[in-house]
Amino acid sequence: MPTAPFSTELPAPQPGPVAAARRAVADVRHLLWFRSVAVRRRHVAAVALGFFALLTTAVAVGPAYLDGAGELTAGAGSQAQEFLVVLPTLLAGLLVLAVVSSVSSGGGRELLSREHGLAYPVSPTTDHLGALLLSPLNIAWMLQAWTLLGIAAYTFGPQNLWAVQLVSVLWVVAATAIAQVVAWTVEAVRRRAHGILVVRGLMLGAGAFVVLLMLTGNVTAVLDNIPTTSVLIGMLAGQEGQWLKFAATAATLLAVALAAVVLGAVPAHLAAQRSPRDELRAESGVRPARRDVGSDLMALVRIDRGSIWRSVPMRRGLMVLAIGPGLVALAGGLEWSTMTILPGLVASGAALLFGVNVWCLDARGTLWRESLPARARTVFGARVLVLTEWLLVASGITLVLASLRAGLPAAHELAALLATWLVVTVQVVSASMRWSAKRPFSVDMRSARATPAPPVVMLGYSARLAVATTMTGLVFSGMARLPYWSLSIAVAIPFVAWSLGRLLFAQQAWSNPFERARVVMTVAA
């Protein structure tokens, strides 16, 4: 029986680039359908998507009809004029955020996980397009996009609002596509020999550049000259009815977006041809034996800590989450009273790395772990401990960075900040443990692109965490402005008691063998 083509046989014709691109688009459609049928509560997902669409429309239109909206010629110092000045920075900020998000997740999220897609001919182009489509399912990206749309609406007012927002939307699309190109390129470099070193060097260089700008007082000068000003000019042209200028900006943005979408496939293919060194290194490295610990709790904590800190997506995500907002706060010279917003933001992000599906740390090993003679409350306590320390480390790094230029705090400012830190940490731990038991998912967190839950679920979790912790941060920001340190402590007590109470309910649910078996069987599936 012949097992290889005869020497005179022609090789099977390979599809051309256009046919391959068409096939990739068709595959994305199939994968989207596959993901959509796997959604458990379809009606809830449909309502949530409708709500997000409604909210986006409200944010893009509503501010244009507020008092003072579009008053760009009504004398100096109007709010609209102030927004006009910060818009180029905001546009650039969205690009930076999209780049950081895609780079840290190793090329963006997957429509089909590596493990599940292994047996199927899913091309890197399909993977690239899928990652691009999933980019908006990220609360940080969404908040930035909403902020841009809202500020653009307020700045330019109702006149030709559609034209202004068309430019905004085209910028959002172009920035996201450019970020994807950068992410795949970085991933392709990271997977080369010494690539990890090169990428870390580049990151350090970028960080050093930002610090240098701050130390030399050149931040404002650089922000005044960023190229996104031309996008702002296009928005202005749209508002004033200078259609030629507006059309040129819109066409350029559209061309850039399309070019980036097409171009992104090239580094995506390059990355796919190389092995993920970070992940392979994590899996093949030797971990020397350590001494025995003195209690069951600490033995469980040690294993859980290893599961977290040896995971590439978690480690990388923590660095981005902790250092990113810290550097922004450092650059912006954040005051102690407004710093209360940071712990909630960072703790929410850190929980989204694994906390919202906390039992997934054991993956298929959860069956064996459950067969060990450990008390349910000890297992629960260990997981709460490692999650708490994870959140505290992430938000702690951010706070240290943010405080570097803030001087010495007053007692009431420090009390408000520490109270917020404690309250949001307990809030996030409590929510994470409840959600983890209520909706467990079987996830393999090996890949840098893995998330602990499906993208739509992650979006819901991130929105709920962001709302709760931001509101808490705002409450304590108000406390920080009042000269009574004891007030923050008094306000923190009911917050902490409420969250601890809910955490205790979650622990009781975990102690129920039927509930525990449901979680274990799902995670190990």
Partner: protein, 239 residues
Amino acid sequence: MIAPEIQPVIDVRGLHVRFGEVEAVAGVDLQAYAGQASALLGRNGAGKSTTMRVIAGVVPPSAGYVFVAGLDITRQTLGVKHAVGYCPDVGGLIPRATPWEHLQLAARLRRMNDWEDRARDLLERFELGDVAHRVTAGFSHGMSRRLSVILAAFHEPFVLLLDEPFDGVDPIGVEATFDVIADARARGACVLVSTHLRELAIEACNTVLVLRGGERVATVTAGDMAGEEGARAYRALLD
């Protein structure tokens, strides 16, 4: 004089396990004895793994009577877990922990002293000594299975539960697993092996229980299941 009745180490009567609408186990009766190795055979979805999970204390029974080593599984789950060594059918390993760390955790929770020599011996017997300090995420399927058998047998349990221990395992691993089963029987432990591989099951065990549609349909000696005749009998029991 009436001879005293031998008490089963695993005593399952009228076991039902339901997951929502699905009844995974529908009235299984099963007895297994000290110093004996019993094989659980049956098609996919027959309820073998779920029965094993109940006996291991991982899944609570929806109805029925389950006693393991004289302990009621619903009331003395922790005691049962001390008596049992369980190799699950899927994975069974924490992906970012090393084999040594798995053994260290098991030793701690099972209150084992001077466990290191036995751990090293088992790892060598299953040819995993050179990967003892690498995380298991990079392990092949066969390596994972072998480590799962080690973890189940490590503390020399009174009840050894092996779910699909031969799946994807090379001949050396299969022989090492046979040795583990023989050692357990020799020290008086009760062994229950769930597998699809009839030939290996009858080689390792002395009794065979066949499950179909969540119920036990036969209990025969391993000899009855051997050879062509046994294959035909087994095939008939599955239909």
